[in-house]
Subunit: 230 residues, 2 copies
DNA sequence: CCCCAGTGTTACAACCATGTGACAGGTGTT
DNA sequence: AACACCTGTCACATGGTTGTAACACTGGGG
Protein backbone atom coordinates (compact mmCIF):
# COMPACT_ATOMS: atom_id res chain seq x y z
CA UNK A 1 0.00 0.00 0.00
CA UNK A 2 1.77 3.11 1.20
CA UNK A 3 5.06 1.39 1.92
CA UNK A 4 6.52 4.75 2.89
CA UNK A 5 9.32 4.78 5.41
CA UNK A 6 9.15 7.17 8.34
CA UNK A 7 12.06 8.11 10.54
CA UNK A 8 11.06 9.00 14.09
CA UNK A 9 13.59 11.12 15.96
CA UNK A 10 12.87 11.60 19.65
CA UNK A 11 14.91 10.97 22.76
CA UNK A 12 11.91 9.50 24.61
CA UNK A 13 11.62 5.78 23.76
CA UNK A 14 8.00 5.72 24.93
CA UNK A 15 7.03 8.48 22.55
CA UNK A 16 8.85 6.86 19.68
CA UNK A 17 7.05 3.64 20.43
CA UNK A 18 3.65 5.28 20.53
CA UNK A 19 4.23 7.01 17.26
CA UNK A 20 5.62 3.87 15.70
CA UNK A 21 2.60 1.82 16.65
CA UNK A 22 0.24 4.43 15.30
CA UNK A 23 2.13 4.68 12.04
CA UNK A 24 2.50 0.96 11.61
CA UNK A 25 -1.23 0.61 11.99
CA UNK A 26 -1.48 3.03 9.11
CA UNK A 27 0.87 0.88 7.13
CA UNK A 28 4.06 2.87 7.32
CA UNK A 29 7.46 1.41 7.97
CA UNK A 30 9.16 2.98 10.93
CA UNK A 31 12.75 3.73 11.81
CA UNK A 32 13.71 5.16 15.16
CA UNK A 33 16.53 7.34 16.34
CA UNK A 34 17.18 8.85 19.76
CA UNK A 35 19.49 11.67 18.76
CA UNK A 36 20.80 13.62 15.81
CA UNK A 37 23.76 11.34 15.26
CA UNK A 38 21.66 8.18 15.04
CA UNK A 39 19.16 10.00 12.92
CA UNK A 40 21.73 11.15 10.43
CA UNK A 41 23.13 7.66 10.06
CA UNK A 42 19.71 6.23 9.36
CA UNK A 43 18.89 8.97 6.90
CA UNK A 44 22.00 8.21 4.88
CA UNK A 45 21.53 4.50 5.18
CA UNK A 46 17.81 3.99 4.71
CA UNK A 47 16.65 7.15 2.99
CA UNK A 48 13.28 7.57 4.69
CA UNK A 49 10.47 9.25 2.84
CA UNK A 50 9.71 11.60 5.68
CA UNK A 51 11.14 12.56 9.06
CA UNK A 52 9.33 13.23 12.33
CA UNK A 53 11.74 15.38 14.27
CA UNK A 54 11.50 16.35 17.91
CA UNK A 55 12.36 19.90 18.72
CA UNK A 56 14.36 19.08 21.81
CA UNK A 57 17.18 16.62 21.46
CA UNK A 58 20.25 15.93 23.56
CA UNK A 59 23.34 17.21 21.80
CA UNK A 60 22.48 18.62 18.41
CA UNK A 61 18.96 20.04 18.62
CA UNK A 62 16.21 19.06 16.27
CA UNK A 63 16.11 22.42 14.65
CA UNK A 64 19.83 22.33 14.06
CA UNK A 65 19.53 18.90 12.46
CA UNK A 66 16.72 20.15 10.26
CA UNK A 67 18.81 23.08 9.13
CA UNK A 68 21.70 20.84 8.20
CA UNK A 69 19.48 18.37 6.35
CA UNK A 70 17.96 21.13 4.32
CA UNK A 71 21.38 22.41 3.36
CA UNK A 72 22.63 19.13 1.99
CA UNK A 73 21.47 18.48 -1.50
CA UNK A 74 20.98 14.75 -1.00
CA UNK A 75 18.64 15.23 1.95
CA UNK A 76 17.09 18.60 1.22
CA UNK A 77 13.92 17.29 -0.27
CA UNK A 78 13.00 14.86 2.46
CA UNK A 79 9.93 16.35 4.15
CA UNK A 80 10.28 17.12 7.84
CA UNK A 81 7.55 17.42 10.43
CA UNK A 82 8.65 19.09 13.64
CA UNK A 83 7.36 17.86 16.98
CA UNK A 84 7.41 20.05 20.03
CA UNK A 85 5.96 20.21 23.51
CA UNK A 86 6.08 23.94 23.60
CA UNK A 87 3.32 26.08 22.32
CA UNK A 88 5.47 29.01 21.48
CA UNK A 89 4.82 30.76 18.24
CA UNK A 90 8.50 31.45 18.02
CA UNK A 91 9.32 27.80 17.60
CA UNK A 92 6.79 27.38 14.89
CA UNK A 93 8.20 30.24 12.97
CA UNK A 94 11.77 29.12 13.44
CA UNK A 95 10.85 25.55 12.56
CA UNK A 96 9.23 26.50 9.30
CA UNK A 97 12.04 28.94 8.70
CA UNK A 98 14.60 26.19 8.48
CA UNK A 99 12.47 24.26 6.07
CA UNK A 100 10.22 22.02 8.10
CA UNK A 101 7.13 21.15 6.10
CA UNK A 102 4.75 20.99 9.01
CA UNK A 103 4.68 21.39 12.71
CA UNK A 104 2.80 19.48 15.41
CA UNK A 105 2.59 20.41 19.08
CA UNK A 106 2.47 17.71 21.71
CA UNK A 107 0.23 16.26 22.83
CA UNK A 108 -1.29 15.16 19.56
CA UNK A 109 -3.57 12.29 18.66
CA UNK A 110 -2.21 9.47 16.52
CA UNK A 111 -4.96 10.27 14.06
CA UNK A 112 -3.84 13.80 13.69
CA UNK A 113 -0.27 12.71 13.27
CA UNK A 114 -1.10 10.23 10.56
CA UNK A 115 -3.31 12.71 8.82
CA UNK A 116 -0.70 15.44 8.79
CA UNK A 117 1.98 13.06 7.72
CA UNK A 118 -0.18 11.84 4.92
CA UNK A 119 -0.92 15.36 3.85
CA UNK A 120 2.73 16.37 3.82
CA UNK A 121 3.72 13.27 1.90
CA UNK A 122 1.06 13.83 -0.69
CA UNK A 123 1.93 17.47 -1.04
CA UNK A 124 5.63 16.78 -1.23
CA UNK A 125 5.40 14.01 -3.75
CA UNK A 126 5.41 15.55 -7.17
CA UNK A 127 4.66 12.80 -9.68
CA UNK A 128 4.44 14.10 -13.21
CA UNK A 129 3.70 17.38 -11.60
CA UNK A 130 2.19 19.29 -14.41
CA UNK A 131 1.47 17.13 -17.37
CA UNK A 132 -2.02 17.92 -18.59
CA UNK A 133 -4.43 15.02 -18.41
CA UNK A 134 -6.93 14.58 -21.18
CA UNK A 135 -9.92 12.28 -21.30
CA UNK A 136 -12.51 12.31 -24.03
CA UNK A 137 -12.18 16.03 -24.75
CA UNK A 138 -11.89 16.93 -21.12
CA UNK A 139 -8.56 18.43 -20.17
CA UNK A 140 -7.13 19.25 -16.78
CA UNK A 141 -3.96 21.28 -16.82
CA UNK A 142 -2.17 21.44 -13.47
CA UNK A 143 0.30 24.06 -14.60
CA UNK A 144 -2.40 26.57 -15.42
CA UNK A 145 -4.74 25.09 -12.85
CA UNK A 146 -7.52 25.00 -15.39
CA UNK A 147 -10.08 22.61 -16.74
CA UNK A 148 -11.21 22.74 -20.34
CA UNK A 149 -13.84 20.89 -22.31
CA UNK A 150 -13.29 20.97 -26.07
CA UNK A 151 -11.76 24.49 -26.00
CA UNK A 152 -13.91 26.39 -23.57
CA UNK A 153 -12.78 26.65 -20.00
CA UNK A 154 -14.92 25.23 -17.25
CA UNK A 155 -15.64 27.06 -14.05
CA UNK A 156 -14.77 24.68 -11.24
CA UNK A 157 -14.15 25.63 -7.65
CA UNK A 158 -10.97 24.72 -5.79
CA UNK A 159 -12.39 21.62 -4.16
CA UNK A 160 -13.97 20.42 -7.37
CA UNK A 161 -10.66 20.95 -9.09
CA UNK A 162 -8.81 18.81 -6.56
CA UNK A 163 -11.51 16.21 -6.75
CA UNK A 164 -11.32 16.07 -10.51
CA UNK A 165 -7.55 16.00 -10.45
CA UNK A 166 -7.60 13.08 -8.07
CA UNK A 167 -10.10 11.24 -10.19
CA UNK A 168 -8.25 11.84 -13.42
CA UNK A 169 -5.05 10.54 -11.90
CA UNK A 170 -6.84 7.55 -10.42
CA UNK A 171 -9.23 6.36 -13.06
CA UNK A 172 -11.16 3.12 -13.26
CA UNK A 173 -11.23 2.53 -9.57
CA UNK A 174 -13.85 2.91 -6.90
CA UNK A 175 -13.21 5.20 -3.95
CA UNK A 176 -15.35 5.37 -0.87
CA UNK A 177 -16.45 8.71 0.49
CA UNK A 178 -14.04 8.20 3.34
CA UNK A 179 -11.15 7.60 0.99
CA UNK A 180 -12.02 10.66 -1.02
CA UNK A 181 -12.09 12.77 2.12
CA UNK A 182 -8.64 11.49 2.98
CA UNK A 183 -7.25 11.98 -0.47
CA UNK A 184 -8.89 15.20 -1.58
CA UNK A 185 -9.76 17.02 1.63
CA UNK A 186 -6.71 15.90 3.55
CA UNK A 187 -7.73 13.51 6.26
CA UNK A 188 -7.14 15.86 9.15
CA UNK A 189 -10.45 17.59 8.73
CA UNK A 190 -13.76 16.43 10.00
CA UNK A 191 -16.54 16.81 7.51
CA UNK A 192 -19.64 14.77 6.84
CA UNK A 193 -19.32 12.06 4.26
CA UNK A 194 -22.37 13.44 2.50
CA UNK A 195 -20.32 16.52 1.74
CA UNK A 196 -18.56 14.41 -0.83
CA UNK A 197 -21.88 13.83 -2.56
CA UNK A 198 -22.49 17.54 -2.79
CA UNK A 199 -19.12 18.24 -4.33
CA UNK A 200 -19.56 15.34 -6.69
CA UNK A 201 -22.80 16.95 -7.70
CA UNK A 202 -21.14 20.33 -8.22
CA UNK A 203 -18.37 18.78 -10.23
CA UNK A 204 -20.83 16.91 -12.40
CA UNK A 205 -22.76 20.08 -13.01
CA UNK A 206 -19.57 21.92 -13.91
CA UNK A 207 -18.57 19.22 -16.35
CA UNK A 208 -21.89 19.41 -18.11
CA UNK A 209 -23.89 16.69 -19.78
CA UNK A 210 -21.14 16.11 -22.26
CA UNK A 211 -18.80 14.75 -19.61
CA UNK A 212 -20.64 14.06 -16.41
CA UNK A 213 -20.91 10.41 -17.32
CA UNK A 214 -17.25 10.13 -16.39
CA UNK A 215 -18.08 10.36 -12.72
CA UNK A 216 -20.04 7.30 -11.85
CA UNK A 217 -21.90 6.37 -8.72
CA UNK A 218 -21.28 2.91 -7.40
CA UNK A 219 -24.14 2.23 -5.06
CA UNK A 220 -23.11 1.00 -1.69
CA UNK A 221 -19.45 1.61 -2.48
CA UNK A 222 -18.55 5.12 -3.57
CA UNK A 223 -17.61 6.87 -6.80
CA UNK A 224 -15.55 5.99 -9.82
CA UNK A 225 -14.02 7.95 -12.68
CA UNK A 226 -14.20 5.93 -15.85
CA UNK A 227 -14.36 6.52 -19.55
CA UNK A 228 -16.45 3.43 -19.90
CA UNK A 229 -20.10 4.17 -19.19
CA UNK A 230 -21.63 2.18 -16.40
CA UNK B 1 -13.41 -1.21 8.34
CA UNK B 2 -11.17 -4.19 8.32
CA UNK B 3 -14.00 -6.66 8.63
CA UNK B 4 -11.55 -9.50 9.04
CA UNK B 5 -12.63 -12.44 11.15
CA UNK B 6 -10.27 -13.75 13.82
CA UNK B 7 -10.60 -17.11 15.51
CA UNK B 8 -9.24 -17.16 19.04
CA UNK B 9 -8.37 -20.62 20.34
CA UNK B 10 -7.49 -20.79 24.02
CA UNK B 11 -8.81 -22.89 26.88
CA UNK B 12 -8.78 -19.94 29.24
CA UNK B 13 -12.01 -17.93 28.82
CA UNK B 14 -10.51 -14.85 30.47
CA UNK B 15 -7.68 -14.72 27.97
CA UNK B 16 -10.03 -15.23 25.04
CA UNK B 17 -12.14 -12.42 26.33
CA UNK B 18 -9.23 -10.06 26.74
CA UNK B 19 -8.02 -10.75 23.26
CA UNK B 20 -11.49 -10.45 21.82
CA UNK B 21 -12.03 -7.06 23.40
CA UNK B 22 -8.72 -5.78 22.08
CA UNK B 23 -9.42 -7.03 18.60
CA UNK B 24 -12.96 -5.77 18.50
CA UNK B 25 -11.68 -2.32 19.38
CA UNK B 26 -9.50 -2.63 16.32
CA UNK B 27 -12.55 -3.55 14.28
CA UNK B 28 -12.05 -7.25 13.89
CA UNK B 29 -14.81 -9.78 14.24
CA UNK B 30 -13.98 -12.45 16.77
CA UNK B 31 -14.83 -16.10 17.09
CA UNK B 32 -13.82 -18.11 20.12
CA UNK B 33 -13.01 -21.76 20.70
CA UNK B 34 -11.81 -23.53 23.84
CA UNK B 35 -10.31 -26.61 22.25
CA UNK B 36 -9.22 -28.10 18.97
CA UNK B 37 -12.58 -29.68 18.28
CA UNK B 38 -14.51 -26.45 18.67
CA UNK B 39 -11.86 -24.65 16.70
CA UNK B 40 -12.07 -27.03 13.80
CA UNK B 41 -15.83 -26.76 13.63
CA UNK B 42 -15.65 -22.98 13.52
CA UNK B 43 -12.92 -23.00 10.93
CA UNK B 44 -15.01 -25.12 8.60
CA UNK B 45 -18.16 -23.22 9.30
CA UNK B 46 -17.03 -19.60 9.44
CA UNK B 47 -13.73 -19.61 7.63
CA UNK B 48 -11.84 -17.04 9.69
CA UNK B 49 -9.19 -14.91 8.04
CA UNK B 50 -6.63 -15.66 10.69
CA UNK B 51 -6.28 -17.90 13.73
CA UNK B 52 -4.76 -17.11 17.12
CA UNK B 53 -3.82 -20.49 18.49
CA UNK B 54 -2.73 -21.27 22.01
CA UNK B 55 0.15 -23.65 22.34
CA UNK B 56 -1.32 -25.61 25.23
CA UNK B 57 -4.77 -27.02 24.76
CA UNK B 58 -6.66 -29.81 26.50
CA UNK B 59 -6.90 -32.80 24.21
CA UNK B 60 -5.38 -32.09 20.82
CA UNK B 61 -2.58 -29.60 21.33
CA UNK B 62 -2.36 -26.35 19.48
CA UNK B 63 0.64 -27.43 17.53
CA UNK B 64 -1.07 -30.61 16.46
CA UNK B 65 -4.09 -28.63 15.28
CA UNK B 66 -1.85 -26.28 13.35
CA UNK B 67 -0.15 -29.19 11.68
CA UNK B 68 -3.47 -30.64 10.58
CA UNK B 69 -4.79 -27.35 9.33
CA UNK B 70 -1.71 -26.80 7.24
CA UNK B 71 -2.06 -30.23 5.70
CA UNK B 72 -5.61 -29.75 4.54
CA UNK B 73 -5.87 -27.87 1.33
CA UNK B 74 -8.98 -25.96 2.29
CA UNK B 75 -7.41 -24.56 5.45
CA UNK B 76 -3.74 -24.49 4.58
CA UNK B 77 -3.68 -20.83 3.64
CA UNK B 78 -5.31 -19.47 6.76
CA UNK B 79 -2.56 -17.65 8.65
CA UNK B 80 -1.87 -18.87 12.18
CA UNK B 81 -0.30 -17.00 15.06
CA UNK B 82 0.83 -19.23 17.90
CA UNK B 83 0.43 -18.07 21.49
CA UNK B 84 2.47 -19.53 24.29
CA UNK B 85 3.39 -18.86 27.88
CA UNK B 86 6.71 -20.57 27.53
CA UNK B 87 9.79 -18.82 26.34
CA UNK B 88 11.45 -21.86 24.96
CA UNK B 89 13.21 -21.48 21.67
CA UNK B 90 12.22 -25.02 20.88
CA UNK B 91 8.58 -24.15 20.80
CA UNK B 92 9.18 -21.28 18.51
CA UNK B 93 11.05 -23.40 16.09
CA UNK B 94 8.52 -26.19 16.20
CA UNK B 95 5.69 -23.72 15.87
CA UNK B 96 7.07 -22.13 12.78
CA UNK B 97 8.05 -25.55 11.52
CA UNK B 98 4.45 -26.67 11.28
CA UNK B 99 3.55 -23.57 9.41
CA UNK B 100 2.55 -20.96 11.96
CA UNK B 101 3.04 -17.52 10.48
CA UNK B 102 4.07 -15.81 13.68
CA UNK B 103 4.61 -16.50 17.31
CA UNK B 104 3.80 -14.44 20.39
CA UNK B 105 4.85 -15.23 23.94
CA UNK B 106 2.57 -14.42 26.83
CA UNK B 107 2.25 -12.03 28.38
CA UNK B 108 1.82 -9.66 25.49
CA UNK B 109 0.21 -6.26 25.19
CA UNK B 110 -2.96 -5.87 23.18
CA UNK B 111 -1.09 -3.40 21.02
CA UNK B 112 1.59 -5.85 20.18
CA UNK B 113 -0.99 -8.44 19.35
CA UNK B 114 -2.92 -6.17 17.04
CA UNK B 115 0.26 -4.97 15.39
CA UNK B 116 1.53 -8.47 14.77
CA UNK B 117 -1.81 -9.66 13.59
CA UNK B 118 -2.02 -6.84 11.16
CA UNK B 119 1.46 -7.52 9.92
CA UNK B 120 0.71 -11.18 9.37
CA UNK B 121 -2.51 -10.40 7.60
CA UNK B 122 -0.81 -7.91 5.36
CA UNK B 123 2.02 -10.29 4.61
CA UNK B 124 -0.28 -13.25 4.12
CA UNK B 125 -2.84 -11.43 2.10
CA UNK B 126 -2.01 -12.31 -1.44
CA UNK B 127 -1.29 -9.23 -3.50
CA UNK B 128 -3.86 -10.65 -5.81
CA UNK B 129 -6.56 -9.62 -3.37
CA UNK B 130 -7.43 -6.79 -5.69
CA UNK B 131 -6.73 -8.65 -8.86
CA UNK B 132 -9.63 -9.38 -11.15
CA UNK B 133 -11.02 -12.88 -11.06
CA UNK B 134 -11.96 -14.45 -14.36
CA UNK B 135 -13.94 -17.58 -15.02
CA UNK B 136 -15.11 -18.65 -18.45
CA UNK B 137 -15.44 -15.11 -19.75
CA UNK B 138 -16.93 -13.82 -16.54
CA UNK B 139 -14.77 -11.21 -14.88
CA UNK B 140 -15.10 -9.58 -11.49
CA UNK B 141 -12.80 -6.67 -10.79
CA UNK B 142 -12.72 -5.58 -7.13
CA UNK B 143 -10.75 -2.41 -7.75
CA UNK B 144 -13.26 -0.97 -10.16
CA UNK B 145 -16.10 -2.83 -8.53
CA UNK B 146 -17.31 -4.15 -11.83
CA UNK B 147 -18.55 -7.39 -13.31
CA UNK B 148 -18.11 -8.06 -16.99
CA UNK B 149 -19.16 -10.85 -19.27
CA UNK B 150 -16.96 -11.08 -22.34
CA UNK B 151 -16.93 -7.26 -22.78
CA UNK B 152 -20.16 -5.77 -21.68
CA UNK B 153 -20.63 -4.81 -18.09
CA UNK B 154 -23.24 -6.53 -16.01
CA UNK B 155 -25.60 -4.69 -13.76
CA UNK B 156 -25.48 -6.37 -10.37
CA UNK B 157 -26.69 -4.89 -7.12
CA UNK B 158 -24.47 -4.53 -4.06
CA UNK B 159 -25.58 -7.77 -2.43
CA UNK B 160 -25.33 -9.75 -5.64
CA UNK B 161 -21.88 -8.33 -6.15
CA UNK B 162 -20.73 -9.49 -2.73
CA UNK B 163 -22.32 -12.85 -3.29
CA UNK B 164 -20.59 -13.30 -6.60
CA UNK B 165 -17.29 -12.15 -5.20
CA UNK B 166 -17.55 -14.67 -2.42
CA UNK B 167 -18.40 -17.44 -4.82
CA UNK B 168 -15.62 -16.61 -7.23
CA UNK B 169 -13.09 -16.64 -4.42
CA UNK B 170 -14.52 -19.87 -3.03
CA UNK B 171 -15.21 -22.04 -6.01
CA UNK B 172 -16.00 -25.72 -6.13
CA UNK B 173 -17.45 -25.94 -2.70
CA UNK B 174 -20.96 -26.15 -1.34
CA UNK B 175 -22.16 -23.49 1.07
CA UNK B 176 -25.31 -23.71 3.10
CA UNK B 177 -27.67 -20.78 3.18
CA UNK B 178 -26.59 -20.17 6.73
CA UNK B 179 -22.94 -20.02 5.76
CA UNK B 180 -23.69 -17.66 2.94
CA UNK B 181 -25.58 -15.38 5.29
CA UNK B 182 -22.57 -15.35 7.58
CA UNK B 183 -20.05 -14.74 4.85
CA UNK B 184 -21.89 -12.40 2.56
CA UNK B 185 -24.40 -10.66 4.79
CA UNK B 186 -22.14 -10.39 7.80
CA UNK B 187 -22.89 -12.87 10.54
CA UNK B 188 -24.77 -10.75 13.01
CA UNK B 189 -27.82 -9.94 10.97
CA UNK B 190 -31.07 -11.79 11.10
CA UNK B 191 -32.64 -12.55 7.78
CA UNK B 192 -34.62 -15.50 6.52
CA UNK B 193 -32.60 -18.22 4.86
CA UNK B 194 -34.94 -18.10 1.89
CA UNK B 195 -33.64 -14.61 1.23
CA UNK B 196 -30.49 -16.27 -0.03
CA UNK B 197 -32.55 -18.06 -2.65
CA UNK B 198 -33.92 -14.81 -3.91
CA UNK B 199 -30.52 -13.23 -4.25
CA UNK B 200 -29.19 -16.32 -5.93
CA UNK B 201 -32.00 -15.95 -8.36
CA UNK B 202 -31.20 -12.28 -8.95
CA UNK B 203 -27.56 -13.05 -9.46
CA UNK B 204 -28.33 -15.81 -11.92
CA UNK B 205 -30.55 -13.49 -13.87
CA UNK B 206 -27.86 -10.82 -13.92
CA UNK B 207 -25.29 -13.29 -15.17
CA UNK B 208 -27.53 -14.34 -18.01
CA UNK B 209 -27.93 -17.71 -19.67
CA UNK B 210 -24.35 -17.63 -20.78
CA UNK B 211 -23.05 -17.91 -17.24
CA UNK B 212 -25.80 -18.84 -14.85
CA UNK B 213 -24.73 -22.45 -14.97
CA UNK B 214 -21.84 -21.45 -12.74
CA UNK B 215 -24.13 -21.14 -9.76
CA UNK B 216 -25.44 -24.57 -9.00
CA UNK B 217 -28.09 -25.74 -6.61
CA UNK B 218 -27.21 -28.64 -4.39
CA UNK B 219 -30.51 -29.96 -3.26
CA UNK B 220 -30.77 -30.31 0.49
CA UNK B 221 -27.40 -28.65 1.04
CA UNK B 222 -27.04 -25.22 -0.48
CA UNK B 223 -25.27 -23.64 -3.45
CA UNK B 224 -21.99 -24.08 -5.21
CA UNK B 225 -19.99 -22.06 -7.70
CA UNK B 226 -18.35 -24.36 -10.18
CA UNK B 227 -17.05 -24.22 -13.72
CA UNK B 228 -18.06 -27.80 -14.22
CA UNK B 229 -21.72 -28.08 -15.13
CA UNK B 230 -23.72 -30.12 -12.71
C1' DC C 1 -48.73 -42.00 -9.46
C1' DC C 2 -49.18 -38.99 -5.64
C1' DC C 3 -47.22 -36.36 -2.09
C1' DC C 4 -44.14 -33.28 0.09
C1' DA C 5 -40.00 -31.00 1.17
C1' DG C 6 -37.09 -28.12 -1.27
C1' DT C 7 -36.35 -24.67 -4.62
C1' DG C 8 -37.61 -21.18 -8.44
C1' DT C 9 -40.04 -17.14 -9.37
C1' DT C 10 -42.64 -13.04 -8.84
C1' DA C 11 -44.65 -9.08 -6.61
C1' DC C 12 -44.47 -5.62 -3.29
C1' DA C 13 -43.87 -2.47 0.55
C1' DA C 14 -40.38 -0.65 3.48
C1' DC C 15 -36.11 0.97 3.55
C1' DC C 16 -31.94 3.22 2.37
C1' DA C 17 -28.46 5.45 -0.50
C1' DT C 18 -28.00 9.07 -3.39
C1' DG C 19 -29.47 13.37 -6.03
C1' DT C 20 -30.70 17.97 -5.51
C1' DG C 21 -31.68 22.64 -4.16
C1' DA C 22 -31.35 25.95 -0.57
C1' DC C 23 -29.04 28.26 3.09
C1' DA C 24 -25.85 30.29 6.44
C1' DG C 25 -21.29 31.24 7.65
C1' DG C 26 -16.65 32.32 6.11
C1' DT C 27 -13.11 34.61 3.30
C1' DG C 28 -11.12 37.82 0.55
C1' DT C 29 -11.83 41.86 -2.57
C1' DT C 30 -13.29 46.29 -3.89
C1' DA D 1 -19.54 48.00 4.15
C1' DA D 2 -21.08 45.61 0.20
C1' DC D 3 -20.02 42.04 -2.72
C1' DA D 4 -18.83 37.69 -4.94
C1' DC D 5 -17.36 33.33 -4.13
C1' DC D 6 -16.74 29.07 -1.78
C1' DT D 7 -17.86 25.75 1.63
C1' DG D 8 -20.30 22.46 4.62
C1' DT D 9 -24.66 20.97 6.10
C1' DC D 10 -29.43 20.28 6.02
C1' DA D 11 -34.09 18.86 4.31
C1' DC D 12 -36.52 16.88 0.98
C1' DA D 13 -37.17 14.22 -3.39
C1' DT D 14 -36.24 10.16 -5.96
C1' DG D 15 -35.19 5.92 -7.38
C1' DG D 16 -32.67 1.70 -6.51
C1' DT D 17 -32.31 -2.14 -3.25
C1' DT D 18 -33.84 -5.40 0.10
C1' DG D 19 -36.28 -8.84 2.72
C1' DT D 20 -40.41 -11.34 2.81
C1' DA D 21 -44.52 -13.63 1.59
C1' DA D 22 -47.08 -16.04 -1.66
C1' DC D 23 -47.44 -19.08 -5.26
C1' DA D 24 -45.50 -22.25 -8.96
C1' DC D 25 -42.59 -25.80 -9.93
C1' DT D 26 -39.39 -29.80 -9.35
C1' DG D 27 -37.52 -34.09 -7.98
C1' DG D 28 -37.37 -38.07 -5.17
C1' DG D 29 -39.56 -41.41 -1.99
C1' DG D 30 -43.41 -44.20 -0.74
Amino acid sequence: MSGKTVLIVDDEPAIREMIAVALEMADYECLEAADAREAHALIIDRQPDIILLDWMLPGTSGIELARRLKKEETTADIPIIMLTAKVEEDNKIRGLEVGADDYITKPFSPRELVARLKAVLRRATPPGIDAPIEVDGLTLDPSSHRVAANDSFLNVGPTEYRLLQFFMTHQERVYTRSQLLDQVWGGNVYVEERTVDVHIRRLRKALGERHDYLIQTVRGAGYRFSTQPA
